[in-house]
Symmetry: C2
Subunit: 447 residues, 2 copies
């Protein structure tokens, strides 16, 4: 499963909300072989979410092998020395649970959600495939077709997805975030058994992994089981330092025009390079959560919504999004879908007028408080979902953050000031670091 990088700002906020860490007991530990363990206690229901996160995603792939991280995610459901292909998922289902996996630029993760007393069984199977996968050429041939078909469905069949792929490639001049998680088709077609095994041997190692167990469990019992199943797997001595090519200064704004007859409504996206949450330095990313809401949250209150959708009716839809959770520089995005009869050029001029106005006047105090309250309210939803909690820690720990950063985030989010938002906006809304994408059905519409 490909995990989309960007979600609406509010959703993201809900995934990372105040109070959670305080209301829930989080215990951390480390096995002798370097594997990190995070236990999140939640005794409301007798269920457990068992996840293993690897600090390796598509941005860690060797050049020319795009898609191998996600390919391997599929292959992890094949046979091991002691399990048949598909046996893990079948066992989970037979026990009334569910399981899946997902890959992003920064991580690959596997999880099962089962009755709490099935945790040991899950660990036995998950630890088995960390070390004992037995891939065959036939696995490769079959599953390569599957991921190519997945690319067909998700990307080739969607003008918007293709356009976004080209946009991201233009947004990043050097970093592999410009390469799609699913991979470039021509590179996917030539992925080999050797490519998959090289990635597996290097990265599927306890010292590159994080075990997250959330639910009706006791930390000591989890640690004991973890030691028994994961603790016996040897560390990988050759694990390289996690250094990906970083961006050079972006000095020239870029514009893309994507024409595809399948586009029903022309629209435009403006994407800016943006700072992500860093260990001990999350303030600017927190300000961007507000900025996204202020500019493109509700159509009835956000700057773009009010100006373009309500007042001038130049747009039928506007939005803003940013994803602060990322190991390296992320993006801040604005979308405008112009009303019928309004050109992309006019839509973009309207967008830029709103941005200029916002940069000049700064955020409205009442809006700041409304968003602050909204973010605090999100806590309730976040607490309610033990899987979201588990994902929050897993993602953070594979993206350069520590447990204390996850726990500090709600308070940081609550502490954001109007001045910080204004400063973040001034820094991030720099056209030289931006890409503007126009998507239209014809050259005539692309103006």
């Amino acid at each position: 499963m490909i995990r989309p990088v960007l979600a609406r700002a509010l959703l993201l906020a809900a995934l990372a909300l105040p109070g959670v860490a305080r209301a829930t007991e989080v215990t951390t530990g480390q096995l002798d072989n370097g594997m990190q363990v995070v236990v999140i206690e939640d005794h409301r229901a007798p269920v457990v979410v068992h996840m293993v996160w690897y600090r390796s995603g598509s941005a860690d792939e060797p050049a020319g092998e795009s898609g191998v991280a996600h390919f391997l995610e599929h292959l992890l459901f094949k046979a091991t020395d002691t399990m048949a292909a598909g046996e893990l998922s079948a066992t989970v289902a037979a026990n009334g649970g569910s399981d899946n996996a997902f890959t992003n630029h920064d991580y690959t993760a596997y999880y099962q959600r089962v009755a709490a007393d099935r945790l040991e069984l899950m660990m036995r199977m998950e630890s088995d495939r960390m070390n004992n996968l037995r891939l065959t050429q036939s696995d490769i041939d079959t599953e390569r077709q599957v991921i190519l078909e997945e690319r067909n469905q998700r990307t080739e069949n969607s003008a918007g997805a293709l356009a976004r792929e080209q946009m991201m490639a233009a947004q990043y001049l050097n970093h592999r975030y410009g390469v799609p998680v699913i991979g470039w088709r021509h590179e996917m077609e030539s992925l080999t058994l050797g490519d998959a095994l090289d990635f597996y041997d290097l990265y599927y190692s306890p010292n590159n992994a994080i075990l997250v167990v959330a639910g009706d469990v006791e930390p000591q019992a989890v640690m004991d089981l973890a030691r028994r199943y994961y603790g016996v797997i040897p560390a990988e001595d050759n694990l390289p330092p996690r250094e990906r090519g970083q961006e050079p200064p972006q000095l020239a704004e870029r514009r893309l025009i994507f024409v595809d007859a399948r586009v029903s409504n022309p629209y435009l996206v403006r994407s800016y390079l943006a700072p992500e949450r860093d260990h001990g330095a999350q303030q600017e990313a927190a300000a961007l959560v507000y900025l996204a809401e202020l500019l493109g949250g509700s159509p009835f209150t956000s700057a773009l919504g009010v100006a373009l959708q309500i007042d001038s009716q130049t747009a039928v839809r506007t939005s803003a999004a940013n994803d602060g959770a990322s190991l390296d520089d992320t993006t801040f995005e604005l979308v405008v879908v112009p009303s019928e009869g309004v050109s992309l050029d006019e839509g973009e001029a309207a967008l830029d007028a709103v941005l200029a106005d916002f940069l000049a006047t700064g955020p409205d105090a009442a809006q700041m408080e409304r968003i602050r309250t909204q973010l605090r309210a999100g806590e309730i939803y976040a607490l309610d979902n033990v899987q979201n909690l588990a994902e929050r820690y897993g993602a953070a720990l594979t993206q350069g953050l520590e447990v204390e950063d996850v726990q500090a985030w709600p308070d940081i989010l609550q502490s954001v000031t109007a001045d910080q938002v204004r400063a973040a906006a001034a820094r991030v809304l720099d056209r030289r670091q931006s890409v503007t994408l126009w998507v239209a059905a014809s050259q005539e519409e692309a103006r």
Copy 2:
């Protein structure tokens, strides 16, 4: 020395002209360790050009280590077990010769031009530094400053060079041709002794090298010397297959606006992805040599020159260039410098009108013949320079061509038809695979 990728079309044609292979005896061989040898006899003067070409340039660098190929080129002039730092160049100079080196995306090459009877001395020294370089931390610290200063002078001090760097990064979505040969500054700053040695140990190996000797020499004598000096160096068993990440389909035209107060005249560049000369398939690249001349050759005869510089006087300069010599997909570029009072937008509209007209009417027969004759005439110049001949073979063999391709090229160039030029133009002048760069001193000028 950074070897620029693009030169004016005519210059390139002159570097690869008809009849040369026939007028000059070329002998090839291979040592047991895999090193290729090319001997070009030219007995007009008692001089010899001795070159070693490595099939590794900046596009072969590991991600995150941009500039290491060129850095290593500098470091090759440091000490070996038996030579002091600088001794090789000093010895060449003391013998009345000259020497240098250059790096490109596809290769790194070293050469000396000396009296023919000094060939053995050159081989002794050049083979020594292929295998026995002894780099120190102090070499790294010093030479890193030198390449950073080189970047300052060539790139940071030049708005045009910075703009071109951003353009190339947008032209290539996936391939490392989008990374500058000199490197991104932030990556150059962190290049280490280990990075340099890793690149050296892997790529500076006889099975990754081509010896080209041109001048007043006998092939058998050259082979004997090559065996003695280069033949004793062990082959590198771990030399990887030369696969760089290739481009996905380019589906969205890109536009860049680069604003820098140092720009004196605003100008625009349109760059298209273009096919390069491939082994056994050079016809389309040959047609592009004509296309560049037809569109942007002489201001008095080319389509852009006549329309923009003479007739409408909308431009003070126009040009077209392409570099068919490249291992992977290259670019075809058009430049327009609008006249005073003509906006970039107007200049680009004038450019596009000329392209549309050319695509509709195709090349003028008289112009085709003029260029054909011009290309044939270039032979004289090419033959006259033994170093150019040597470079032609060295570059070709590091860029995926064989000796027979170099020898076939003049006839292929002469055989190009108007239909082939029209077909190549229709394929290459596809906006979806293009980048349009505007360079101006201010936002006001960039319109």
